[in-house]
Point group: C2
Amino acid sequence: MTILPQTPRTTAKRKSDRVEYDFDAICAVLDQSLVTHLGFVQDGSPFVLPTNAWRVGDGLYFHFATNGRFAQTLRGGAEICATVSLLDGLVLARSAMHHSVNYRSVMLFGVASEVTEAAEKNRVLMALVDKVWPGRAAIVRPPDAKELAVTAVFRLPIAEGSLKARSGQPVERHDDLALPVWGGVVPVVTVLGQAQADEYVPSGLELIQPDGRRTI
Amino acid sequence: MTILPQTPRTTAKRKSDRVEYDFDAICAVLDQSLVTHLGFVQDGSPFVLPTNAWRVGDGLYFHFATNGRFAQTLRGGAEICATVSLLDGLVLARSAMHHSVNYRSVMLFGVASEVTEAAEKNRVLMALVDKVWPGRAAIVRPPDAKELAVTAVFRLPIAEGSLKARSGQPVERHDDLALPVWGGVVPVVTVLGQAQADEYVPSGLELIQPDGRRTI
C-alpha cells in the first residue's frame, strides 16, 4: 500500500469530509471518470479545462494539439492541478443548510512532462482508447506518424494529491429530525445509452461491448 | 438574445468544436449540472475545486465556509475560472486518433463578490436547494442566523465566458471508413437511482419528486 505524502496544498482545512492519500484509492477514482478538469495559469489568469485524461501506472496522461496554447503552457513547466470528481448522490436533509452531495474527488498537483518517444507515445495513446472502450485498441487503426506528430502527450506523476469523499445519509441537527420532511439519499448514476451506428457501418457489423460494466 | 463579448481568454484557438457566446445557451449548461470546477491561484499554485454552484439571474453563485481558505482567497479579489462540463456521449471511430467525446462545457472568467446582505443571501441559498431538488425550498427548515453566519456566498457575474460543444458522429479519414470496425456514438446519460430514506423517516412519509425530469 503506497501512501502519498501530505503537503500544505493537499491538507484539507475542513475536516467534515473524508480525506485520504492512498495511491490505489486515488487511482480508482481517476480510472472511473472520463473527464478531468485541468487547472493552470496562463497570461495571469487561471484556466480550468475539461479534458479526457487517463492513467497508466503512476502517471496521469493528457493530450493536446502539438502547437496549441495549452501544450505550450505545459511545455513551459507550468504548475498544474488535475481534478477528477464523481457525483454519487444527492443528500436531502430536513433543513436547507444540511443538504449535501455524496461524491469522490481527487486533486493532483505537479508539473507535467511531455512524452516524446514515439513507441511510448503510441502505447499510452492506445491505453486511452482502451479506457474509453475496453478492448477497442486491438481492433482500430493505430495512429500513423503524422497523427502522432500533431498530438502532444503529457504525463503528470501521481505523486502529490489527495482523495476527498462524502458518503452516507444526511447529518442533521437533532431537533430537525422530527420535521415532516423526507430525508435520505438519492443516488446519481451514469449509464450508457443505446449505441447509435453511423451511416458507414455495414449491416451485421456489431459494436463489441466492453468486458464488465463500468460507470463513467 | 444576449451575446457575451469575445475576449482573448474566451477565444478558442482550435476550431474543430463549436464555440458560442449566447447567454441563454451558457445558462442552460450551468443549470443542468450540479458540479462546477472552480479554478483559482493560491500561494502560487493553481487549485481546481469541485463545488456545487448554482445560477440566479445573471450570476453564478457558490458557497464556502466563512473562515475557510477558499473564502479568504475569493475575498482577496482573486481571478477565478468556473468550468461546467457535461459529457453527452462517447464517439467511437475506426481509427484510434479520431475517437472523441460529445460534450457541452462552459468556462466563465472574472472576480467574485461576496453576498453579505442577509435576505439576499437567504434567497440565493434557497435557490440552491430548489436547484438540487425543485420544490424542496418551500418545505425544509430555512437557515437560521448562525447557519447563515458560517456560510459565505459568492457571486460571479456571467459576463465573460463561452460555451464549447461537440455533437454528432465520428469524423473519419475517408480511407478508414471501409475498415471492419463499428463506428458511431454511445450516449452517456446521468439518471437518479432509487431514493434511500434514512432511519428517521416515518412510514408513510414519501419523497416529493421534482416536477419534470432533469438530467444531472
